[in-house]
């Protein structure tokens, strides 16, 4: 007797995939590796489930599995560059870490939904570290427009996060 049906598994996969990837990303620092690790973790759960093993809390189990896989993945890399970032994550409680991953997933999704130009400006600033003046020159825009777009983008991101917090506190 398996723990869950294919439909339940698919549902779990779709809702947990992104937070798990972002969770793994804190360790691997590379999206491809993070996605691979998450895929493997799910594959493992799927095989265990098919074999009839009982998995009580799928979410907790997966976060644990992804963490273990990420740690062993990182330790295999000779130039272990990431250790300076680990403490920050490792300090937090498990619950805190999951919540952080979920928030990151929400942020990622919010960036996905930004209008193309606003997204471009946002990424130039936050990802590539350009100053507003530099972005304005690069995109041939006034600095005012850049500021304006940035504040709208940040507002959208903050709002999604606030909404999650309301959601969490409203139901726990």
């Amino acid at each position: 007797m398996a723990s869950f049906t294919t439909e339940e598994f698919e549902q779990g996969f779709k809702s947990l995939y992104k937070p798990l990837c972002l969770y793994a990303l804190h360790y691997t620092e590379r999206i491809d590796d993070a996605e691979d690790i998450v895929q493997q973790a799910f594959a493992d759960v799927w095989d265990k489930n098919s074999a009839g093993a009982l998995i009580g809390n799928l979410k907790a189990y997966l976060y644990q599995a992804v963490r273990n896989r990420s740690l062993s993945f990182v330790s295999q890399i000779p130039q272990a560059q990431t250790t300076d970032q680990l403490p920050d994550m490792e300090d937090a409680s498990e619950e805190e870490q999951i919540r952080c991953a979920e928030r990151d997933a929400r942020l990622w999704q919010a960036i996905d939904k930004l209008p193309p130009e606003r997204k471009k400006i946002f990424l130039l600033s936050k990802r590539d570290g350009l100053k507003y003046q530099e972005i304005a020159e690069e995109l041939n825009l006034s600095i005012k427009t850049v500021e304006n777009q940035m504040s709208k983008a940040l507002k959208a991101l903050r709002e999604t996060v606030v909404r999650i917090y309301c959601f969490i506190f409203g139901f726990t």
Binding site: T6, E7, E10, F13, K14, S15, Y17, K18, C21, L22, L25, H26, E29, I31, A34, E35, V38, Q39, F42, A43, W46, C100, R103, D104, L107, W108, I111, D112, F122, L123, K126, R127, L154, L157, R158, V161
Partner: protein, 280 residues
């Protein structure tokens, strides 16, 4: 607390932005990849499948019904005339209707000629029907129906009467109420009276029923009362006879002549005194 929260949020934003790549970490795409590797077929639960099928079916049935309903709605063509005006109307099958003054016809373009050819009318109209035995032609009035295959005939509705005059061919003349019916052939006329609920075949041949169309008034040994009646009808006036002469009969023919000339000819011929009543 607030600062700590903002700090963490800023940190998160920085972290996510740093790694953000368009189109990555897509749960749907990842699932497709995962499922295809493991041959997990997407099984839609049976009930949901049925519901979906039912919804689609319902939509199709709805659209189909609407289409059929819309197709069957009549698309009327109506023609009417004012007093003194005449009009010729060709129907899609090249049947010709000549409409007298103060009359009205209509037919449904969608159904006309599909199985039957139906024209509704009021007033007076002369029909020259294109022969088509597979699709009977019928004229409907408020009191009676006239069915033909292919002939020429006239129908006139007059308050409580319907009169049919047949010029060529054969027509069937049926009252809407009751079972009164006559078959008329060329040269015959019949009248249906709703008061008497009677169908009367007129034996005397009416030579002038088509004068509104031909412009020709012909009298052959015709009693004066009938002459006056035809003149009233043709000129749309009211004529009175100041000298009573019940025995007087007229034989004459007028081709669209002015009324005062016609009256003068009659008065001189029969020594009568016909005058047109002046309208008040």
């Amino acid at each position: 607390m607030n600062n700590e929260y903002d700090d963490k949020l800023e940190q998160s934003i920085r972290f996510v932005a740093k790694h953000y790549k368009e189109g990555c970490m897509d749960a749907e795409k990842a699932w497709v990849k995962f499922a295809s590797k493991r041959h997990i077929s997407r099984r839609v639960p049976f009930v949901r499948y049925i519901l979906r099928a039912a919804a689609v079916l319902l939509l199709l049935v709805g659209l189909g019904t609407f289409y059929l309903w819309e197709q069957n709605l009549p698309d009327w063509v109506a023609v009417s005339t004012m007093s003194g005006q005449t009009k010729d109307i060709y129907l899609p099958d090249s049947t010709l209707i000549s409409l007298a003054g103060d009359s009205w016809i209509r037919y449904d373009v969608r159904s006309y000629g599909k199985e039957r050819r139906v024209v509704e009318m009021k007033g007076k109209a002369f029909f020259q029907v294109e022969r088509n035995e597979a699709r009977p032609f019928s004229v409907e009035t408020n009191l009676a129906e006239v069915k033909v295959l292919g002939t020429s005939f006239q129908v006139e509705t007059l308050g409580n009467f319907v009169e049919v005059n047949v010029k060529t061919g054969k027509v069937s003349f049926t009252a809407n109420e009751g079972d009164k019916q006559v078959i008329l052939t060329a040269g015959m006329s019949a009248q249906y009276s709703v008061e008497k609920k009677e169908m009367t075949v007129l034996t005397e041949e009416d030579t002038n029923y088509l004068s509104w169309k031909t412009g020709l008034l012909r009298f052959s040994d015709t009693p004066l009362d009938k002459v006056i009646e035809d003149l009233n009808d043709y000129y749309q006036v009211k004529i009175t006879n100041r000298v009573k002469k019940p025995e007087a009969k007229l034989t004459a023919s007028f081709n669209d002549m002015p009324l005062d000339e016609v009256l003068m000819v009659i008065n001189q011929t029969l020594d009568t005194h016909l005058v047109q009543e002046t309208r008040k």
